[in-house]
Symmetry: none
Subunit: 210 residues, 2 copies
């Protein structure tokens, strides 16, 4: 329709109705109410994006989050349990009747996860936190020399090539931190394969809970 608001011949063309989206500092939102609202909005946004990812690209996604107040939410496609069931509910997955899906790549991953999960099942509750503590300590061991200033580099005397290299490194580090689990899982998978590659069969059942 030509009811274009800008065509409104009354003046007042620039009395903006709202401020629109404003930039916000990337830090904890103080106001509790605001924080909860933002959490809700952004959580929905992530759900949507996760869903789009699967729709566009296939694969599977699982997303879990605990709200600031500690409430758990999760989103999964095809379902949260399909994606993380192995890690959460080992017993249930072993009951699953596997037909020929075992040859599907994704099942290989799941098999690997199951193996990895076994130890988690036994290990998680009382050992896991120690490891996390250690991990923290290694992060804390971050130079007595103010970790937060660490990244304020200088370009003085650095060539463009060096800068690029450095950036690549930063991104690599970033990826490594973010995906450390992936790394661990891949390793498990390799070990698993090494232990079993003398067996020519595709190992239909992982005999996990024997």
């Amino acid at each position: 329709m030509e009811a274009n608001p800008t065509t409104n011949h009354n003046q007042k063309p620039n009395k903006k109705q709202t401020k629109g989206k404003q930039k916000i500092e990337m830090k904890m939102i103080r106001d509790e109410n605001d924080r909860l609202t933002t959490f809700s909005k952004r959580k929905s946004g992530i759900y949507k994006k996760a869903n789009e990812l699967v729709t566009l690209c296939g694969g599977e996604v699982g997303f879990i989050t605990f709200s600031p107040s500690g409430k758990p939410f999760s989103y999964g496609n095809p379902s949260i349990d399909s994606v993380i069931a192995e890690r959460l509910l080992l017993d249930q997955t072993t009951k699953l009747t596997m037909t020929d899906v075992t040859t599907h790549p994704i099942m290989e991953v799941h098999r690997e996860m199951r193996i990895n999960n076994l130890n988690q099942k036994y290990n998680n509750l009382y050992s896991h936190m120690e490891v996390e503590k250690e991990r923290q300590q290694s992060l804390q061991k971050m130079p007595t020399e103010a970790p937060d200033e660490l990244w304020e580099g200088s370009i003085e005397g650095l060539s463009l090539e060096e800068l690029k290299q450095r950036q690549r490194f930063l991104e690599e580090l970033h990826a490594n931190i973010s995906n450390h689990v992936k790394e661990r899982m891949s390793r498990s998978w390799n070990i698993f394969n090494n232990k079993n590659n003398n067996i020519s069969t595709p190992a239909a059942t992982p005999r996990s809970s024997s």
Copy 2:
């Protein structure tokens, strides 16, 4: 700022360099290459959003996805394991009739994590990465100009040596994290094997320690 393209009195005002972002149908992307690219880009986008969610609102997030080709990726904050472990713990604690969840060790760890705010560190890292990017851009775009104005505050007194030192530290940190991951894996595997070697698996150690 008179370099406004629309003000360019010569014609040729609209030779657009790119089409910009185009709308796409929300359905499986046929082209394999395209699909993989999109997956990668969007996965990164979700990581970023997940991280922002935690930073802004607190709480915790875990995100797992399997690429169209079946590769696993995950992002977690504070860590994917913490998020999942906590959920697992919730189940367990219910079953175990834990009197007070908040006194459970793992909760203390989580509390500690929040205090240490690893998350904030991550963000610092991330935003500094962006800063590096911008620096490069300013270098590339105006090599003869004085790009240092913006950053002069932190440039003062930093030598190339110090920079290299920082980088070494980063590499160390990176190695540290990797080690912890490996260590944890080995440990888990040992436990796993110990629990099962009386059943079927004789080859206990996965060549972890040497």
